[in-house]
């Protein structure tokens, strides 16, 4: 599979749903005049911040306006236009909150930065909130740990309630809620794709490497992003090979109805959608009686499961634990159970830490263990891990082709420089969103750099019965 094909790795959905490519920001069109009730609803949503979440309330009260967030923001790095300053974006609702909810704001107004809500600004709200990639880099460097992505998400959530979520995003949510995957693929299509992957692996190794589907009682239930099955499937093949080598092919399963951890409710700010998208996966995990939910190479999917759904106890206590497939594989590599022929991956390879894995979940060493084991020339890009720069397509932006120019020239600018500095010919990113953004970025700037996943590299180099894959034409 070449870069051109993998550009669709967020999925067919993104291709299907993208509206005509324009240079206009995501708002594109002026939102219709909103009604009085809608305006009140928006105001009430801002006032409701008083009831939590705790972080949001604190962020309303305590920004010292030191400008550190702008210095470390990938968007502001790409273009220092005023509207890209994270602190000003957050002021969209902070000023209104102050006006209506603080004694000082009511009494002193602009003296304390309070401003009233103006429905005419909503178009700007859409544009501004959909030009933040939610990478949380600002929070890493902010002396107070203020996470502007939380405020961005709140703005998006308010817009969503008013029906102002950009069409490209809303379609992904709708398809996912209807079909349980962002590609809109049927169980039959999924099974056909799996059969194809098993054939591929047979061609590569001359033996059967199985990918079990819908097996009740399997120990591990693997949930990748659907792109890792349908569009850019080497990662799933890689994981299947790991199970095979360990003699555990009968210990894992995928589900023909739940094969996409992607959950755009996180990006539109709609908590109800996020839960509705998540619920069938937890139910399926229970139905399959798995002991471990093995999340694939999808940053935000893992974050929702591990850092949000589980600790917030959306569905009570879970009868299974949640880990990531990179943790699982890295553990077996460290224990010496997997062997590789590094010469299969002789080109220089670097790793891009997806924000949702690195900063938000602390999965940083595991992908490096896998890449170091399977690649001859692994190179770090700097800064990395928790301090890595965003690919420029976070928070769902990479699915929005109506802002392609913005992503290629502004939000992805720092990442482009970073990748080129390494001299790598392959960038591994454990995230479908990052992969789509990076593929487009590499193509747009004609770098010739290949973009793929982590287990993809493993798949090409892992030894089965002492032999690595006979490389097929991907």
């Amino acid at each position: 599979m070449n870069n051109k094909d993998s550009m669709a790795s967020v999925g067919v959905a993104a291709e299907e749903t993208s509206v005509s490519v324009t240079k206009a920001p995501p708002s594109g069109k002026e939102p219709a005049k909103i009604t009085r009730e809608k305006a009140d609803e928006i105001l009430n949503a801002i006032k409701a911040i008083d009831g939590g979440p705790k972080v949001l309330k604190l962020y309303m009260d305590m920004c010292a306006r030191c400008g550190t967030c702008a210095k470390v923001c990938p968007i502001y790095y790409g273009s220092d236009e005023k509207k890209y300053n994270p602190s000003l974006r957050s002021d969209i609702i902070r000023n209104i909150y102050k006006k209506h909810h603080t004694i000082s704001g009511r009494l002193l107004g602009p003296l304390v930065g309070a401003q009233d809500f103006n429905p005419d600004d909503l178009g700007k709200w859409v544009e501004d909130s959909y030009s933040c990639t939610g990478c949380r880099r600002c929070a890493t460097y902010c002396p107070f740990g203020i996470d502007n992505s939380v405020i961005t998400r709140k703005i998006r959530g308010i817009l969503d309630k008013a029906g102002l979520t950009p069409e490209t995003m809303q379609k992904v949510v709708d398809i996912s809620l209807r079909t349980r995957n962002t590609d809109g693929a049927s169980p039959e299509a999924f099974k056909a794709a799996i059969a194809f992957l098993e054939e591929e692996m047979h061609d590569e190794h001359g033996i059967d490497v199985r990918i079990p589907v819908d097996v009740v009682g399997a120990e591990y239930f693997y949930v990748p992003p659907s792109g890792d099955v349908l569009v850019n499937p080497e990662a799933t093949m890689g994981l299947a090979k790991v199970f095979h080598v360990l003699g555990m092919s009968d210990k894992w399963t995928m589900s023909s109805t739940c094969f996409d951890g992607a959950n755009y409710g996180l990006f539109t700010g709609n908590d109800a959608d996020m839960k509705a998208d998540n619920k069938p996966y937890v139910e399926e995990a229970k139905r399959l009686e798995c002991k471990t939910l093995l999340m694939g190479e999808c940053g935000h999917a893992y974050r929702i499961m591990k850092m949000i759904m589980e600790p917030a106890k959306w569905w009570g206590d879970l009868p299974f634990n949640i880990i990531n497939c990179m943790e699982w594989t890295a553990d077996h590599i460290l224990k010496g159970r997997l062997q590789f022929d590094k010469s299969k991956n002789s080109q220089p390879v670097t790793y891009h830490d997806p924000c949702n894995f690195g900063r938000s979940c602390g999965i940083t060493e595991e992908p490096r263990i896998i890449l170091n084991a399977s690649c001859a020339d692994f190179r770090e890009m700097y800064p990395n891990k928790g301090e890595n720069w965003c690919c420029g397509g976070g928070a769902g932006l990479s699915a929005m082709d109506d802002i392609l120019e913005f992503r290629m020239k502004v939000s992805g600018r720092k990442k482009l420089d970073q990748i080129l500095e390494t001299g790598a010919e392959y960038v591994a990113a454990a995230c479908s969103n990052c992969k789509r953004q990076l593929s487009q970025l590499m193509e747009y700037h004609k770098t010739g750099v290949e973009v793929g996943g982590v287990h993809d590299m493993l798949s090409r180099a892992i030894l089965i019965n002492g032999k690595a894959a006979e490389r097929q034409q991907y």
Binding site: D50, G51, G52, P53, K54, V55, K57, L58, Y59, D61, M62, C63, A64, R65, C66, G67, T68, A70, K71, V72, Y76, D80, K82, N85, S87, L88, D91, T102, I103, S104, L108, P110, L111, V112, G113, R136, A139, T140, Y141, C142, P143, F144, G145, I146, D147, V150, M307, I308, M309, P311, A312, G358, R359, S360, C361, G362, T364, K385, G386, E387
Partner: protein, 233 residues
């Protein structure tokens, strides 16, 4: 004693202190009360959250990584502010003098130490305060997010520092006056020092104290909450 100084030194303290306490209690309570579903952890994490929050509060390591120049200004400004705050205990009570005397220091020795360290702190605080303000004016990314309150707060603080430095560096200010004033406030029979610059200094300081719970200076309380949330693993 004219009525003007009576208002500043004899009435305002009874307004400002309750406003400050009530405001801060209100803030802290509302922060404690708000629920936080899900985790906000930022990695790398996994050490002791208590130690990490303490480190953030004392040394600003995140800012150190993010903006080295600002760190130099901000850290020296805040650490000096903390020292000046501690130094001001001497202004209000003889407690510190008593302690130091137990360690064998003479009254003159304490005075000259206070004069050197307090003087140095007063200069450093003014210098870093001005540097922070100038930075705000000249760096576009900071200038463009600076609103009226972001000008008012530093100007107020700089004015307090200037009046404080004035008192320290122009002639000798007898601390006995302020100690009497403090004691008299506690017995609700205020005796107010008759010194114009001192009155201006405490007027501005009281304005700042009353302003804190309603301003961005709240960051000095909020930091414990926000940092704790991102440091816990």
């Amino acid at each position: 004693m004219d009525s003007f100084s009576f208002i500043i030194g004899g009435i305002l303290p009874y307004v400002v202190v309750p406003v400050f306490l009530a405001g801060m209690i209100y803030r802290f309570r509302s922060w404690l009360k708000a629920p936080q579903p899900g985790k906000m952890t930022l990695f790398p994490a996994g050490g002791s959250p208590f130690k990490e929050v303490l480190a953030e509060t004392l040394f600003f390591p995140s800012l150190f990584k993010g903006d080295r120049v600002l760190w130099v200004f901000a850290w020296f400004f805040h650490i000096t502010l903390a020292l000046v705050f501690v130094g001001h205990i001497r202004v209000f009570s003889t407690m510190i003098d008593g302690m130091l005397m137990k360690f064998g220091m003479t009254s003159d020795g304490i005075d000259s130490m206070s004069s050197i360290s307090g003087g140095a702190a007063g200069i450093l605080l003014l210098a870093t305060g001005i540097l922070l303000f100038v930075r705000r004016l000249i760096i576009p990314r900071v200038r463009e997010i600076t609103g009226i309150p972001d000008f008012l707060a530093p100007l107020l603080i700089i004015a307090i520092i200037v009046t404080g430095d004035w008192i320290r560096f122009t002639g000798h200010f007898e601390l006995e006056q302020t100690r009497v004033w403090t004691a008299s406030l506690l017995t609700f029979s205020p005796i107010i020092p008759a010194d114009g610059m001192f009155l201006l200094h405490i007027l501005l300081a009281q304005a700042l104290i009353a302003f804190i719970p309603f301003s961005k200076i709240l960051h000095f309380g909020g930091i414990f909450f926000t940092q704790a949330l991102i440091k816990r693993s």
